[in-house]
């Protein structure tokens, strides 16, 4: 598979990188991943990755992972079904995911406290509530910083990639760790090649001139913005010139597999996530939006949202497992909050951060576990309350990062990536 990804065909147009070694902006990229190559041959992925399936708008946990069919007032319309994990039941509208539950775990007792979209999105991506004095890095950017950079300078893809949505920013880690956004997984990456008429020599000359300009402004102590700009351009040039970008090309996949994932932006995004992880990308976020269902929730879920989720997520976990990628790839499903157990007067559910569910598996975790419990109406956590930082701790452990890792913010304050929390022990 990876052999195809890094085949040098089509390189003539891009071979300006060959000359780049002599320029200030340059990084030699052609010897590329011998490491990755080896990885491809053994079929074993050696670096750790995380795929976040982001459910923007706030997904209803009561209709997906924590059904309460016995609750007269809150139960809703859906029935639970058995899964491949003994005793674990999930929604009838997630049959493909149900087959993969032996690889996945449900945390049913999350209390995340933030019930506003922006604040919840920030909290679930960073582990912290928004704070006016510091912009926290999102977990994807932390992974890019901690693990991505270890892949070496030759690795020519962004370490954090967000498909169908922007993801959350890098905070003080700097723009080189910002997620690279793929707006549409089925379209080519925009502006990837220089315009016609600008050949390799021209491009090299442009980059040499650019390096001079960048360095002269950067030398004036203008702060992180100026340094970031240069670093992002370096990454961009590296990406333009490398055959790595084949990882974005879904055309190389068999049509039947593409159908299985679902011919929609989420399904194709999941497939792209698998290709990217296979190529060595550390963090991939795939967004599926539209969960803010204040009205008519059961129709919206059963007709559209859940089938789309089911195909994409079910196929992804199956595919990763079959390719032996799941041991080193963690898959996490979450949104900014859950939805009210109570069904409102418009047949919808509202924002609910107090007792909801997230799903995580792979990356060295056990599978088929359920952590925590809510009461019979889904309102209160009755067993093992979990906080957002506990999730961050679990992801940190799963990804093999030291739990006591600490940064110094630009204002000189220490900031821990895991603050006062422990990994969820049942998962390891």
């Amino acid at each position: 598979m990876l052999d195809r990804l890094i085949t040098p065909s089509g390189m003539t147009r891009r071979h300006f990188m060959g000359h780049m070694a002599t320029t200030a902006m340059a990084l030699p990229a052609m010897q590329l991943l011998s490491a990755m190559n080896a990885q491809a041959q053994t079929g074993k992925k050696t670096n750790k990755s995380l795929i976040l399936l982001w459910m923007g708008g706030g997904p209803s946990h009561m209709d997906t992972w924590d059904l309460k069919p016995e609750s007269e007032k809150n139960g809703g319309e859906f029935k639970p079904i058995q899964t491949s994990a003994p005793g674990v039941m999930i929604s009838e509208h997630l049959p493909m995911v149900a087959q993969q539950m032996k690889h996945l775990n449900i945390v049913r007792s999350l209390n995340s406290k933030e019930g506003n979209h922006d604040r919840g999105t920030y909290m679930m991506h960073t582990g912290y509530a928004p704070n006016p004095t510091v912009v926290h890095p999102s977990f994807g950017s932390v992974l890019s910083y901690e693990l991505g950079d270890k892949l070496g300078k030759e690795f020519a893809l962004p370490h954090a990639i967000a498909i169908n949505g922007p993801g959350e920013g890098p905070g003080f880690l700097g723009m080189t760790h910002a997620p690279f956004m793929v707006q549409n997984p089925t379209a080519p990456i925009a502006n990837l090649l220089p315009p016609a008429g600008v050949d390799d020599d021209r491009m090299n000359r442009r980059l040499r001139m650019l390096a001079l300009a960048e360095n002269s402004f950067g030398a004036q102590k203008r702060g992180q913005g100026a340094a970031d700009h240069k670093a992002v351009y370096e990454k961009t040039v590296k990406m333009m010139s490398g055959p790595y970008t084949k990882a974005f090309k879904l055309d190389d996949e068999p049509a039947a597999l593409r159908d299985k994932y679902g011919r929609n932006s989420f399904g194709q995004g999941c497939l792209m996530a698998r290709r990217l992880v296979e190529a060595g990308v550390t963090y991939v976020e795939v967004s599926l939006g539209g969960w803010d269902m204040h009205a008519d929730i059961f129709n919206a879920l059963s007709k559209n949202k859940l089938p789309e989720l089911d195909k994409g997520m079910g196929s992804l976990v199956e595919d990763l497992a079959q390719r032996g990628l799941l041991d080193n790839t963690m898959v996490v499903w979450m949104g900014e909050f859950g939805r009210t157990p109570r069904i409102n007067q418009n047949g919808g559910r509202d924002h609910w951060p107090r007792s909801w569910s997230v799903v995580m598996g792979g990356g060295g975790m056990k599978g088929g576990q359920v952590v925590g419990k809510t009461d019979k109406d889904g309102v209160e956590v009755v067993d093992r309350e979990v906080g957002v930082m506990d999730l961050v701790a679990s992801m940190t452990k799963g990804m093999g990062i030291n739990l006591s890792t600490e940064y110094t913010t630009p204002r000189g304050r220490p900031l821990k990536i895991v603050d006062g929390a422990q990994p969820i022990s049942e998962l390891f």
Partner: protein, 550 residues
Amino acid sequence: MKATSRRLAPSRGLWTLTAILGLAVAATAMAAGPDDSAKAKTKAKKDVAAVAKTSYIDEMLQDSWKSSKVKSSPLSADAEFLRRVYLDLCGRIPNVQEATAFLEMKDSGKRAKLVEYLLAHPDFAKNFGNEWSIILVGRKPAGRDVDKGALSSWLRKQITANRPWNEMAYELITAKGSNKDNGAVNYPMSHLEDGAVNLTSFTTRIFLGQQIQCTQCHDHPSNNWKQADFWSINAFFKGVKSERVMKTDAVGAEVYDHTELSDEPSNAYSKYEKRNAVVGIAFPTYLDGTKISQNADVDRREVLGKFITEKDQKQLARAFVNRVWGRLFGRGIVHTVDDFGDHNKPSHPELLEKMAEDFIASKFDVKNLYRTIMASQAYQLTSAMLKENEKDETLFSHQSLKPMTPEQLFDSLLTATSAHKAAGGNFDQIRNQWLGQFTVTFANDEEGENSNFQGTIPQALMMMNGDLMSKATGGKAGSFLHDTLDKSRAQRKPALFIVNRLYLAALGRYPNSKELNNASAFLEMNPDSIGVLEDLFWSLLNCNEFVLNH
């Protein structure tokens, strides 16, 4: 390549270029000349003496620097100030003529004069209209009932007439009638869905800097807002009605003409669901507890408008001052700029109070507020930091790097390159399409928007390889580069004259001697001089100095 220290006399490279362009290498080669570094230094010193005296803004900031043991950066040089003021007031960089006019001017009061000139410039009014229509309505495409153009042009007219902010605010909150004739109508019009829930939260957030949207569903966890407060404000908007008005077109068909907004006299109360599923009823009550008639005998939006702009004028002033401060310094005194409250304290409370009082005393004079801030030394500091203040992000001891907004970037690219003249096609369409790349809209009930495209790889790809850039630097007729080459050829100007113009166009300054040397070296080493100049222009438009408002 390594910078050489060759002298500036026309070199062989320039002769080559001359041959190609048919340019004369005159003895006046450097007539349009850049400062060499010594000259630039004395000039910078003179600038420093030239700016306004310290104001209370500076005194209050200096106190905070002293107590935090932070040293402030020196004042910016003229070119840095020039570019910043154009971006902050007009939303674009200066063009070559504007830049040279200011840089060449020998007048100790020229900075204040420039600010004054720009406050009266049509581009200031245009930019005010664009910025505020984004704040009021957003970047995303609005529906058929919202005429964004009419809103921008209404704002533009108000600021041109220097209408006080409290009056503009009142008119936006209470606007009625045709959304075509009265552009202000488009503000309430764009947030009417779901019983004006968003109009409720936008109105308190934009005009008062108070975010009550969380209390739509529950009492606020960290300040005093209760769920009932949200719905009591919402009740002021009960009775707002919109209606599409049709007209008969030339061939006799009924077509949409405009939307009419009115306030139907009705009994006003909002119904909402409490956490315990009990339905709550809220009557129109202002945030301070003042109740008003809920009967059909009052125009409730007018009462709300008065409450916000008269009763609460101090907070109205604080919110506006803080927003303008945030634009000009890259960070509000309260940060984020529209989230006031005990959970989010101002960095310089006395300064904010004083400025708000001043703003009220000036009768909410918007231009005067800009004038006051821009005359301060603090605003005029350089963004280059010192060892003694490089850790400071909240005390304004140096100017900050502000990434250009998408609109500033587009308009600045066009100012520098005239790419639109080379592009052909529908200009508005090109602009909208281009700006569309920057906006991600979240489909949720907060209508959130994100434009964190700035500084990312996709933006770098667009700047390096995008269509607009290739039109700007591809030597197409109509573009700045093409016309500059043409003109220079006709007037038999030397090549370094063109290099100078490229720096002025992109960066609003002359190249320094090192940069000129580098340009000569490239010209000398490469026979395709036009290509070299195109590439130089490309590199200036792509560099950090261009894309940052510094």
